[in-house]
């Protein structure tokens, strides 16, 4: 409760126009699907409108005043994002369309180095027969499939950490899994299903011992202000704008400048070049080397507005509030018969996404009943099919919390689940 008062959730909710909506006719919206995509504050929506109504132009190319303004807005957003994650230098921030692209960028850049691109500078990135890439069983498909495709192209071998029954990484075989053949370790900072926060620093220390690069999928942690790239331990960090109050169509890859400098380009096109001849081209320094064509300009500017918004509210207050909601949710859900929480049942080293199964009710049916009451959750495997298989469940229902959620909304979820049990005659 303390956190709720310290954050002034009522005031925050006023910033999010969609929270005034009714759904299914009369029901006030109870939005508990922020791990899927977050809602957008007026400050971000207004920034987009203002950009298109007053400053819209292409960037880096135009010598006119609109072009100057648009370029400054875009590059200004890069600085804001860099500050939000503690980057030493905004040139370490590469804009992409989402975190999936950011991860693919890294995988393709490594693949291109393996195919000979980038010359001697990129030698460290080159994969050889027998090299290994390590992921985990709790990854989002976006941090699985790019590596499968890379392994398919290069002959490298994909290996992975398993998960324990209580939804933590099984680190018992870490020293065998991460070995001299390991070239990349890619894992989520926070699981989008379990909420589990993984011990990145420890795993990165082991990976760095053997000379492997560490990529962290921070899609679920940056939105909660949990990432400081100076201390995280990762070499590469990806995240996505739409989950952190920003627009769709924008994501970020962060990496140290020297690493970006050695990575061969991924997408080719306008703006990522230095000179172009028909025979060959040379490329711009990072970050522009990885930003081909007209970028999601308004979207980057919108993401800058989102980091401003989160920083203004205060990431400490947001975290405290979410912890409070999570504690309340875990307690309340534990009181429902037949409900099994996937992942850590205690609010320790876990964030505000709670997935669960309810005996006798399929997640689609459960979420349908919840939706009928205005409660929006996600049902299915949440793009983490292998994790569900590992936990022995076919699908689950997930509620996820963000700065604008309230205790009353958690209670609406709990009531809805009980109602569903009545409706389907399982309780």
């Amino acid at each position: 409760m303390t956190a709720e008062t310290s954050l002034d959730v009522a005031r925050i909710r006023k910033d999010f126009p969609i929270l005034d909506r009714n759904v299914r006719g009369e029901r006030p919206l109870v939005y508990l699907d922020s791990a899927n995509t977050s809602q957008k504050p007026r400050q971000v929506i207004d920034t987009l409108t203002d950009f298109y109504e007053r400053h819209n132009a292409n960037i880096h190319r135009a010598t006119h005043e609109l072009g100057e303004e648009a370029t400054q807005a875009y590059e200004g957003a890069r600085i804001k994002v860099a500050t939000f994650i503690g980057a030493a230098d905004e040139a370490e921030v590469v804009f992409t369309k989402n975190v999936s692209e950011a991860i693919n960028l890294v995988a393709y850049s490594i693949g291109n180095a393996t195919a000979g691109a980038g010359g001697a500078d990129s030698g460290r990135l080159r994969l050889a027969e027998g090299d290994e890439i390590v992921i985990t069983e709790m990854e989002h498909h976006s941090n699985i499939v790019p590596w499968q495709l890379l392994c398919e192209r290069t002959g490298a071998r994909l290996r992975w950490f398993g998960v324990t029954p209580d939804g933590r990484l099984d680190l018992s075989r870490a020293d065998e899994l991460i070995n001299a053949r390991t070239r990349v370790v890619a894992l989520a900072h926070q699981s989008n299903v379990l909420g589990t926060i993984n011990p990145i620093a420890d795993i990165a220390a082991r990976a760095h011992e053997v000379g492997a690069l560490v990529l962290v999928d921070a899609a679920q942690s940056v939105p909660h202000g949990l990432v400081d790239v100076r201390t995280l331990g990762a070499d590469l960090v990806g995240f996505t704008g739409h989950k952190m109050c920003g627009p769709t169509g924008i994501g970020v890859l962060w990496a140290r400048r020297d690493l970006l400098a050695t990575m061969p380009p991924f997408l080719g096109g306008g703006e990522m070049i230095e000179t172009v001849w028909m025979e060959r081209s040379t490329f711009a320094p990072p970050p522009h080397k990885f930003e081909a064509g007209t970028m999601p300009i308004a979207e980057a500017v919108g993401l800058g507005a989102a980091t401003d918004y989160l920083a203004d509210v205060g990431v400490g207050a947001i975290q405290a509030h979410e912890r409070d909601l999570l504690r309340h949710a875990l307690e309340a859900l534990a009181g429902i018969g037949g409900l099994r929480i996937l992942g850590p049942a205690e609010p320790v080293q876990r964030g505000g996404a709670v997935s669960f199964t309810v005996e006798g009710i399929h997640p689609h049916d459960l979420s349908q009943v919840l939706d009928d009451r205005g409660v929006a959750v996600r049902a299915g495997h949440h793009c983490a099919w292998p994790l569900h298989r590992a936990l022995g469940v076919q699908a689950s229902t997930r509620a996820s919390f963000y700065l604008y959620n309230t205790h009353a909304e958690v209670d609406a979820l709990v009531d809805g689940i009980r109602q569903a049990q009545k409706f389907f005659g399982t309780a």
Binding site: H362, H364, D365, D372, A379, Q394, F423
Partner: protein
């Protein structure tokens, strides 16, 4: 709860609780496995055809379905509807059902054709659930197409014999 009850009709709940023709039986002409990529729901389905006055007909549909009430009920309704019909009659029913699902709640379903499947009409107002309702039907269509093409390959080729 008005909307909810128009989706989970009594007939649906009954089919979901006690699905007709469920289980996998032998012998069969074709077997397929279909999944719903969003939720991981899956159905394994077998089709056995027979000959009805020179036309292929559905002798049996047996299946094993892992999914929500809607997908379970829909598979049950489907199996009960198509078994015993000629393949071409059953395809007509199937097309009618697909049409109903995409009608956004606007169609007047024909109970003479669709039988218990009219109880699934409410699904068409919930686009995210249409795939659930279609899972079994699509599996049946796929399995039947395979069974038919096997038969064609096995059958003596009438045209060629005339040459």
């Amino acid at each position: 709860m008005m909307q909810l009850e128009s989706l989970y009709t009594e007939i649906i709940m009954e089919h979901a609780a006690r699905p007709l023709h469920a289980g996998l039986r032998e012998p069969f002409d074709a077997e397929v496995r279909h999944v719903n990529p969003t939720c991981g729901d899956e159905v394994t389905l077998r089709v056995t055809l027979k000959d009805a006055d020179g036309e292929p007909a559905v002798a049996d549909v047996s299946y094993d379905s892992l999914g929500c009430s809607i997908s379970k009920a829909s598979a049950s309704v489907m199996a009960d509807l198509v078994i015993g019909k000629t393949v071409s009659e059953a395809m007509t029913v199937s097309e009618e059902f697909v049409g109903l699902m995409h009608s956004r709640g606007e169609a007047e379903p024909d109970e003479d054709v669709l039988g218990d499947a009219v109880a699934l009409a409410g699904v068409s107002r919930f686009p995210a659930r249409i795939k659930c309702a279609l899972l079994g039907w699509m599996a049946w269509k796929d399995a039947t197409a395979r069974a038919l093409s096997e038969r064609e390959m096995d059958a003596p080729d009438a045209d060629r014999e005339q040459l």
